[in-house]
Symmetry: C2
Subunit: 218 residues, 2 copies
Amino acid sequence: MAQAGTVDRILDTAEVLFAQRGFAETSLRAITSKAGVNLAAVNYHFGSKEALIQAVFERFLTPFSLALDAKLDEMEASGIPDTPENVLGIVFRLALGTHPDDPQRAAIFFRLSGQAYSQPQGHLREYLHTHYGAVFARLQLHLHQAVPGVPPMELFWRVQFSLGAVIFTLSGMQSLQSISKADFNMDASTADITKRLLPFLVGGIQAEVPDQPLHTDK
Amino acid sequence: MAQAGTVDRILDTAEVLFAQRGFAETSLRAITSKAGVNLAAVNYHFGSKEALIQAVFERFLTPFSLALDAKLDEMEASGIPDTPENVLGIVFRLALGTHPDDPQRAAIFFRLSGQAYSQPQGHLREYLHTHYGAVFARLQLHLHQAVPGVPPMELFWRVQFSLGAVIFTLSGMQSLQSISKADFNMDASTADITKRLLPFLVGGIQAEVPDQPLHTDK
DNA sequence: CTGGCAGCCAAACGTATGTTTGAAACGTAT
DNA sequence: ATACGTTTCAAACATACGTTTGGCTGCCAG
């Protein structure tokens, strides 16, 4: 990130600062000064701060969703069975590995996702759902093959729960690490945590659904 | 919330707005104008905006943690066994029931918690950990009794994962409801979702831990 | 009646933010 | 060398924010 163009320097700096402090708490002046570019460059190249935020996400999610699509193709072709471990494993390895050069990049990825989802008014949320909803639906389909006993509606919510567990944990990892270090005298890396996450999520996703139907239709 | 004093009117309005839009995105002017009080009243009664935020949390969490302590006492006294369902069930029923008059209050509670945790710099996080860490530790102890096969370190993270699933889901319920309604033609209440959450979390928490020790000590 | 005081109010203050502006610098094709 | 479109820059602009101020109420003890 040393001698890149102005646009990339802005994106590189913005994605780090957004992940660290959040969108509202990160000023354009903080971004531009740290990036070594003029303040007006953001509005010149992106138009507005909100457009900058979207650009940051696009640069992140487009390669990710493309890679995920490819991996799912590969899995369907080679006949690898649809198990929760396999499907979730693909997502995790991809999220951790789309930028192998920078290991911290994965943490930024999740923290950004967390910021996006906790963003209350949800402009970003809609944007994400419209632009990357297709891959998401495909993923869910494979999961349904993996746990046919869980009805689609229930599965939808369990995927949301899983998303929450992943994003929430990794988005707040910095603080959690200090707690974990204080209470257990050990620190945890992103890879460590994802290793712990996988069995938890698998256990949750394939849990038995309660007998009594909780009025699933109006 | 009709004819209460100024302090309570501010707290009532602030907790709703904070939950809806987040802390940084909610201005004191928005709070005071909606509450029908003067702008200066916040700084007069609370001292600063940050103190207001803490006051909102204190009013929420103190009754909750007291009730939780009492319920745990009751459980220990009456010899109810420590199962994941029982322990988590207590928390859920309490979170949903501490303010039975207002069903929406539970959603606000979780959304606020989500805002607090996703708050990047984490002043609030420390505050919560120091003021309510004791109840949290006690809860974790009971969980450990419930799933003795899971080592404490692993359990710590699984509780974090569970927290994430709960807070993330309920904090973004508004948006998720529209998605769920579009895709499955049904809507979900807070109570509905928590009913779905319980088996998911129980399944995750009591999942088998992988054989290979993931270098649990430095 | 009167003094004091806590609560309340409109107005202003200082600061930080996103955005816009107009000119300067740059690179490139003619 | 000249002209032109793009990019960069310092400066200013408008606005929104949290906070402070000084005076105005109403009430209750003396």
